[in-house]
């Protein structure tokens, strides 16, 4: 007699062993059923796991200010992205609107969360990663609202390779011309190499652009080969209108430092961090990038390299060609991780997570001179429960922290020196 849980376990094992890449750290995806054996049993197992995954309320919360100063907030519940808005800096929110009417499995924890962007005529754009049945696989999804968020068009799948492989960790920005730029990590090249028996380090960075307000996207373009597989991509818009991407890359055999690419159709990726973190593992720890109105790039990242473990900040005054020597911040003996950087003129804010032995705290450090010097760190929020990564946003005047935790719920608070 086979134990009831064993069948699903074997199926999960089989898919895990057959897959390549990194999945979200939280939970494995349901196994795929590809044989006729015990179809009913498999279907019910899969449905049960599917329902369980839908029922879990993911921790990831995304917030963004639109061009008129309204705050928008995206959360995932029951397989739908729910969007609400606040006119008073997060004190009260409107009723939430479902972005996708048909539920699907949406990646929404840690390094993966829905993204929000706004067009010049008030368009609202939402992207997310749809997790597929096989672990580590996903599609990049996109939906838009042209009526101020009252209703959304049916979502599009942006990746034009539809194999059940990884197209995940989407990031999105909108250029001054109103073009929508999406980038993501894509396993199609690794899959092609595997078919001819060759090993391919990591994933590839792919992108797609829409020039028609999200009605359609142009053909996918490969932007870089050999990205790390499971770290968020930092994407920001330069003052000259060029989107700039920074991601964890695989240099050589397994050195997982960071690369930068200006998405201007001419530039090549350049290496921008040099801790030489060599390992065959999934850091689940992507970088963060902000570009000020003065065109200075501000970058923060995590490294686990033995001799340079922790969080680092650097800035570039030549559009990413060279960076200042790294400034170490956070306490590496307190799990300092998951940094955010924000630039508001010459005011630069860093926020990150630490664990003090009893609770998780959000620490903040600020510069008033464009990132040359930083005031000492301060604790802004704490929780003795599971929590999301911190996010920093600005309405152009204030800098605010968005942070979700199980015990306290979603909090939105100004940094020191800001009256809300």
């Amino acid at each position: 007699m086979i134990h009831p849980g064993l069948l699903s376990a074997v199926m999960l094992l089989a898919t895990v062993l057959g897959a390549a890449g990194c999945a979200a750290p939280a939970k494995p995806a349901p196994a795929s059923a590809d044989h006729a054996l015990h179809t009913d049993k498999k279907t019910s197992d899969r449905n049960r796991m599917w329902q369980a995954s839908l029922a879990r309320a993911p921790l990831a919360v995304t917030v963004a200010f639109d061009r008129t100063g309204q705050l928008w907030r995206a959360r995932v519940r029951d397989g739908q992205v729910w969007l609400d808005r606040s006119l008073d800096q997060g004190r009260r929110y409107s009723d939430a609107v479902a972005v996708n009417s048909q539920p699907e499995r949406i990646a929404a924890d840690g390094e993966n969360r829905p993204k929000l962007a706004f067009g010049p005529a008030g368009e609202i754009y939402v992207s997310w990663t749809q997790s597929l049945d096989v672990p580590f696989s996903g599609h990049v999804r996109f939906a838009r609202s042209l009526d101020g968020g009252r209703r959304f068009d049916a979502p599009l799948t942006v990746n034009d390779n539809h194999d059940t492989i990884s197209h995940r960790f989407d990031s999105m920005t909108v250029t001054a011309a109103g073009h929508i730029q999406l980038v993501w990590l894509d396993k199609r090249d690794a899959q092609a190499e595997a078919r001819v028996g060759r090993r391919y380090a990591g994933s590839s960075l792919y992108g797609a652009v829409s020039t028609d307000r999200g009605s359609s996207f142009a053909a996918n373009r490969k932007l870089a080969e050999h990205s790390c597989e499971c770290c968020r991509i930092a994407l920001a818009l330069d003052t000259d209108g060029t989107p700039v991407a920074v991601w964890r890359h695989v240099f050589g055999a397994n050195t997982r430092d960071h690369a930068l690419l200006r998405l201007d159709d001419q530039s090549q990726p350049v290496r921008v961090t040099h801790e030489n973190w060599a390992l065959d593992a999934c850091p689940h720890h992507g970088p963060t990038l902000a570009i000020g109105h003065d065109g200075v790039l501000h970058l923060a990242w995590y490294s686990g390299a033995e001799k340079q473990r922790g969080l680092f900040y650097a800035h570039s005054r030549d559009r990413g060609a060279s960076f200042t020597p790294p400034f170490a911040f956070g306490n590496p003996d307190a799990q300092a991780g998951h940094p955010q950087v924000l630039a508001l003129g010459t005011r630069i804010a860093l926020a990150w997570k630490e664990f003090d032995g009893k609770q998780t705290v959000i620490r903040v450090q600020q510069s008033r001179d464009g990132g040359r010097t930083f005031a000492g760190p301060a604790t802004l929020a704490a929780s003795a429960s599971a929590s999301d990564h911190p996010l920093l946003v600005s309405d152009g005047v204030h800098v605010l922290l968005s942070w979700n935790s199980v015990a306290e719920g979603h909090r939105f608070m100004p940094l020191a020196g800001d009256s809300p």
């Binding site: 064993l6 376990a9 089989a14 897959a19 979200a24 044989h35 397994n254 593992a281 307190a334 799990q335």
Partner: protein, 163 residues
């Protein structure tokens, strides 16, 4: 299709038989790490953190299974960062890698930062993560799948070093 079904049935039968010997992973909660260190006081052990959702962990488990086969006296402690709901899949995976007899634990607290802190405040959460505890419990931490030679070198050194 028929061949695939037959292979699946054989695999199921093997695993069903093998899991009889493999215990369910124990719940790893606040205080468990202290308990593990105390239980192995004065003895070397290797502590390996892994997850079902981590590809490189499969390579690591394969090597640890072989290591334990070569050195039956070696204490291997495995902690999965999945959840107790995944117990069946965890057990099946460990059996598959020849680690049915290893001491197995699974995270049983959603507040994983606290668990990670008790294991190692300096660990960023990357997987696989391996800790070599020598007889005096001086610890060497390593991230990523390890080369078989490194595991073997540690096993030989720690097992032959007199107390």
């Amino acid at each position: 299709m028929m061949a695939a079904t037959r292979v699946t049935l054989v695999l199921l039968a093997l695993l069903a038989g093998a899991t009889v010997q493999a215990a369910e992973p124990m719940p790893f909660v606040a205080g468990s790490m202290q308990q593990i260190r105390a239980a192995h006081a004065g003895r070397p052990f290797v502590l390996a953190l892994w997850s079902l959702t981590c590809t490189h962990c499969q390579e690591e488990l394969t090597q640890l299974g072989k290591l334990q086969h070569r050195h039956p006296g070696l204490n291997v402690v495995l902690v999965s960062t999945d959840t107790p709901d995944d117990a069946a899949a965890l057990t099946a995976t460990l059996v598959h890698h020849g680690l049915a007899r290893a001491e197995a634990w699974v995270y049983a607290d959603g507040f994983t930062e606290r668990l990670r802190f008790e294991i190692d405040p300096r660990w960023g959460g990357e997987l696989p993560r391996t800790y070599f505890y020598d007889r005096a419990h001086t610890v060497t931490a390593r991230s990523g799948a390890l080369a078989p030679a490194e595991l073997e070198r540690w096993a030989v050194t720690s097992l032959t070093t007199p107390p």
